[in-house]
Symmetry: C2
Subunit: 138 residues, 2 copies
């Protein structure tokens, strides 16, 4: 019953990133904690959806993506997959190169399609929510 919330310290520990990184993402508006009281500085709490977003951001950066690309990827995913934070329905996505748009796009992961990209020498970055969110389940 009720929803679980996490302090910055707890969130950083679960995600495996530094407090400074969390703060930076907060300042940049990439992942903003759901509860963010003004004043004391203590009333900051990340919801479970926030944690999923943090895990995603951490993952995208760990792959070597730039901050801009990672934030964009996260935004795309949150926008595209309304169910992204639902632990029952972790979808698999991929970032891949769209020749027409000359940019990365987010698509549902499809093995055949992913291989076709590789066969053209194009990058495929799987974004598997089930895998990325594994650490949040424990």
């Amino acid at each position: 019953m009720g929803e679980k919330f996490f302090t910055s310290k707890q969130a950083a520990k679960i995600i495996g990133c530094s407090l400074r990184q969390l703060q930076y993402w907060r300042d940049k508006g990439v992942v903003v904690p759901t509860i963010e009281g003004s004043g004391t500085g203590r009333s900051i709490y990340y919801s479970q959806s926030d944690l999923v977003q943090l895990a995603l951001m951490e993952y995208l950066l760990s792959v070597g993506l730039s901050f801009a690309t990672a934030s964009w990827g996260l935004k795309e995913l949150v926008k595209t997959d309304a169910d992204y934070a639902n632990p029952e329905t972790k979808k698999r996505w991929m970032l891949c190169w769209n020749q027409k748009k000359r940019s990365l796009v987010l698509e549902e992961f499809d093995r055949e399609k992913a291989i076709a990209f590789l066969d053209k020498g194009q990058a495929v970055i799987p974004v598997w929510l089930d895998l990325i969110c594994q650490q949040l389940m424990t």
Copy 2:
């Protein structure tokens, strides 16, 4: 006979990047023109190997990689593939995730191996010299 050299302006045009970008990479020591006289500022010339490096850098950034990751990838490639600038022997490489090292590594492109990475939900970024250097051949 002899070797071809290119001014910054020519290099930027061939690669499809801005002069400012070239300058930035030069300042950061990522791609330094082979001929770089001091003083006048005019005596800057990129060799054909330099152009390959520029094309690689441009490619790695276009995939969405961070500046740090792209520079590292370029360095790795130049270090690993002594023949990288030889138009006759354009090898195919890939950047992929090494679980043990918890970082990207550069390996020779191998389709089966690349697919195995995808099947584990891990990123594969092909670095095909023949493809990336296509624009330099014309």
